[in-house]
C-alpha cells in the first residue's frame, strides 16, 4: 500500500501546486498558456517509454507502446514548438521597440 498512499499525497500536493501556480493570467497569454500546459500533459510519454521497456519480446505490447509514445511526442513536440512560435511574436515586438 505504500506506493499508493505516497502517490495519493503526491497527487494532492501536485494539484494544490497547480492551483497556486496560475493566479492572474493576462488575457494575452491564455492561448499560449493553454498550449504550453497542453504540451506538458504529453508527459505520458514517460509511461509509454516504461511500457515499451518492460514489454520485453511481447510484440503487440511493443506496438501499443510505440504508438502511444508517438501520440505523446506529437503532443509534446508539437505543443512546445507551437507555443514558442506564438510567444516569439510577442517578444519580437519588445526587442524592436
Amino acid at each position: 500500500m505504500s506506493f499508493f498512499s505516497e502517490a495519493l499525497w503526491v497527487l494532492l500536493l501536485g494539484s494544490l501546486l497547480g492551483l497556486e501556480l496560475i493566479g492572474k493570467v493576462p488575457p494575452t497569454l491564455h492561448t499560449p498558456l493553454m498550449s504550453g500546459a497542453n504540451a506538458i500533459s504529453g508527459i505520458t510519454m514517460l509511461a509509454a517509454l516504461t511500457l515499451i521497456i518492460k514489454s520485453g519480446e511481447n510484440l503487440p505490447l511493443l506496438i501499443i507502446g510505440s504508438i502511444s509514445l508517438g501520440f505523446a511526442l506529437f503532443n509534446v513536440i508539437g505543443g512546445f514548438l507551437v507555443t514558442d512560435r506564438m510567444l516569439a511574436m510577442f517578444s519580437r515586438k519588445k526587442t524592436r521597440k
Binding site: 502517490a7 501536485g14 488575457p27 508527459i43 514517460l46 505523446a72 513536440i77 512560435r85
Partner: protein, 479 residues
C-alpha cells in the same frame, strides 16, 4: 550501479521543479518564452531519467530501442511539422488536436497494461484493485479527452456542424447512458482486470463525443481548456498505472492549472462552466425561445469609400477586431490600413475584448503576427473610458462583444456580459458579411443606432478596398 537510483530521483525532482517554474513563468508576458523552453527541457530531462534508470537496472533490449526510436521519430516529426505549418488562425483546432493525442497516449498505456498484465507489476504497484482502478480512470479520462478533443477540432474546422438532436433532451439521455455503461465496464474491470475493458473505451469515447458535439463554436475554447485539464488527469492516472510519481505530479499540476484557466476563461465570457457544458449551443436555444429578438429598423449601410472619407477626417481611431477578422485572416490587411492611417498622424489603437478572436488571447497572437505594436493593444477596462473621445470605431467581424444590450437590457441573454462601449464614439463602422446574428443569436442594438454604419463584406475584402480608397485619397502619402 547503486547510485543510479539517487540520480534518477534527483533528475525527477529537478524536472518537477522546472515544470512548476515553467507553468508559473508562462503566466507572465516577460518570462513566457523562457518558461516554455524550461518546461521543454524538463520533459527532456524526465525522459532521459527514465531511459537511464531502466538501462542501468533492468536493461533496455535492442528491440525496445527500435520501437522507442521509431515512435519518437514519427510522433516527433509529425508534431514538429504540424507546429511549423499551421496558420496562426487555426490555433484553437491545433491545441485541441495535440490535446486529443495526449489523451490517446494515456489511453493506450492503460490499454497495454490491461491487456498484458504480466508485463507490469515488478514495481509492486500496490494491490490489484488499486492498479485496476487506475487503469479504469486512465482509460475513461483518456478516451473522453481523445474523442472530445477530436470533435472539438472538427467543429472548429467546420467539418462538423451541430446536429439538431444534440440540442434536445435526448443528448442528456445519451450521455447518461454512456456514462452508466462506462461505469459498469469500470466496475467489472476493477474487480477482475479483464472484462469490461472495451466497454469502457467505447462508452467513454461516445460520452466525449456526446458532451462536446452540442457545444457551439464560441464556447469551444472553454471546452478545449477543460479537456486540456482532463489530459493532465489522464496523465496522472497513467502515472498510477505504471507507478511513476513524476507523472502523477506533472499530470496533477496540468490538471489543476487547466481547471483554473478554464475558470478564468469562463469569467471573461460571462458564462458558467455548467452552462457551457450542459446548456448546449447558446445560439440555437435562444433563437428558439425568441429571447432578445426583434427586427432591425434603422440600418444604415455604406461603401468602403464613405468609410475611407470618414477615416481620413478622424484624429482618433479605435479598431475592434473579432472572430470574423480571424476567420477572414485579415490581420495583415488590417495592419496595412492602420499603417496608412498612422502615417497620416491618426492615432490608432486596438480594443481587445477578453474573448476576441477564436480563443481568449488569440487575437493578441494574430495581431502580433501582423506586426501590430504590443502597446497599441488596449484591454477592455482601459479602452472603455476612451470611447467618448474617439472619432471612428472600426468593428471588424465582432458582434456580441459590442452589443449594448449587455448593459442596457435586463431581459437580454447577454445581460451582464462585459462589452466594449463602442456606441459612445462619434461614428461606428461595422464590417460584417451580412445581417446574420452573432454567435449568441441575438439582435445587436448597436447596428440600429444613428451613429452606426454597416459596411457589408468579408473583412479581408473590405479592408483591401478601404486601403485602395485611402491611398486614392492620398491619406498618409504626404507625410
Amino acid at each position: 550501479m547503486t547510485f543510479i537510483g539517487p540520480i534518477k530521483f534527483a533528475i525527477d525532482l529537478l524536472a518537477v521543479l522546472l515544470l512548476a517554474l515553467g507553468i508559473k513563468g508562462l503566466s507572465k508576458v516577460r518570462s513566457a518564452r523562457e518558461a516554455n523552453r524550461l518546461a521543454a527541457i524538463a520533459m527532456l530531462l524526465a525522459a532521459f531519467g527514465v531511459l537511464m534508470n531502466s538501462q542501468g537496472t533492468i536493461g533496455i533490449s535492442i528491440n525496445s530501442w527500435v520501437w522507442i526510436i521509431s515512435g519518437t521519430l514519427i510522433g516527433g516529426l509529425l508534431g514538429a511539422i504540424t507546429a511549423k505549418k499551421v496558420p496562426m488562425t487555426a490555433m484553437p483546432e491545433i491545441v485541441a488536436l495535440f490535446n486529443g493525442c495526449g489523451g490517446m497516449s494515456s489511453l493506450l498505456v492503460a490499454l497495454g497494461v490491461a491487456l498484458f498484465p504480466s508485463s507490469e507489476g515488478s514495481d509492486g504497484v500496490a494491490s490489484e484493485l488499486v492498479k485496476n482502478f487506475s487503469i479504469v480512470v486512465s482509460l475513461f479520462v483518456g478516451a473522453i479527452t481523445f474523442s472530445g478533443s477530436i470533435v472539438a477540432m472538427a467543429k472548429l474546422q467546420g467539418w462538423l456542424s451541430t446536429p439538431s438532436w444534440t440540442q434536445s433532451k435526448a443528448r442528456h439521455f445519451f450521455n447518461i447512458l454512456c456514462a452508466a455503461l462506462a461505469l459498469i465496464g469500470g466496475i467489472y474491470l476493477s474487480i477482475d482486470g479483464q472484462n469490461g475493458l472495451f466497454l469502457i473505451v467505447v462508452a467513454s469515447c461516445l460520452l466525449g463525443i456526446g458532451v462536446t458535439l452540442p457545444i457551439g463554436g464560441a464556447d469551444m475554447p472553454v471546452v478545449i481548456s477543460l479537456l486540456n485539464s482532463y489530459s493532465g488527469v489522464a496523465a496522472a492516472a497513467a502515472g498510477f498505472v505504471v507507478g511513476s510519481q513524476l507523472l502523477i505530479v506533472a499530470g496533477a499540476m496540468v490538471g489543476a492549472a487547466g481547471l483554473i484557466l478554464t475558470q478564468v476563461m469562463c469569467d471573461g465570457m460571462n458564462r458558467s462552466l455548467v452552462s457551457v457544458l450542459f446548456g448546449g449551443a447558446l445560439g440555437t436555444s435562444s433563437v428558439a425561445s425568441g429571447g432578445g429578438g426583434g427586427e432591425y429598423t434603422n440600418i444604415t449601410s455604406c461603401s468602403p469609400e464613405e468609410c475611407a472619407l470618414t477615416l481620413e477626417a478622424a484624429e482618433r481611431v479605435v479598431i475592434v477586431p473579432g472572430y470574423g477578422l480571424a476567420v477572414a485572416q485579415a490581420q495583415h490587411t488590417l495592419r496595412e490600413v492602420t499603417r496608412v492611417l498612422e502615417s497620416a498622424d491618426i492615432e490608432v489603437t486596438y480594443a481587445i475584448h477578453p474573448v476576441a478572436g477564436r480563443m481568449p488571447g488569440h487575437m493578441n497572437v494574430l495581431l502580433a503576427e501582423a506586426d501590430v505594436p504590443y502597446e497599441q493593444l488596449k484591454e477592455m477596462d482601459v479602452i472603455n473610458p476612451e470611447f467618448p473621445a474617439t472619432d471612428v470605431v472600426l468593428v471588424l467581424g465582432a458582434n456580441d462583444v459590442v452589443n449594448p444590450q449587455a448593459k442596457n437590457d435586463q431581459t437580454s441573454p447577454l445581460y451582464g456580459m462585459p462589452v466594449l462601449d463602442v456606441q459612445e464614439a462619434r461614428t461606428v463602422f461595422v464590417v460584417k458579411r451580412g445581417m446574420s446574428a452573432g454567435y449568441s443569436g441575438i439582435k445587436n442594438d448597436l447596428f440600429d443606432l444613428q451613429n452606426t454604419s454597416m459596411v457589408f463584406g468579408d473583412a479581408k475584402k473590405v479592408l483591401g478596398d478601404l486601403l485602395l480608397e485611402l491611398k486614392e485619397l492620398g491619406v498618409g502619402s504626404k507625410g
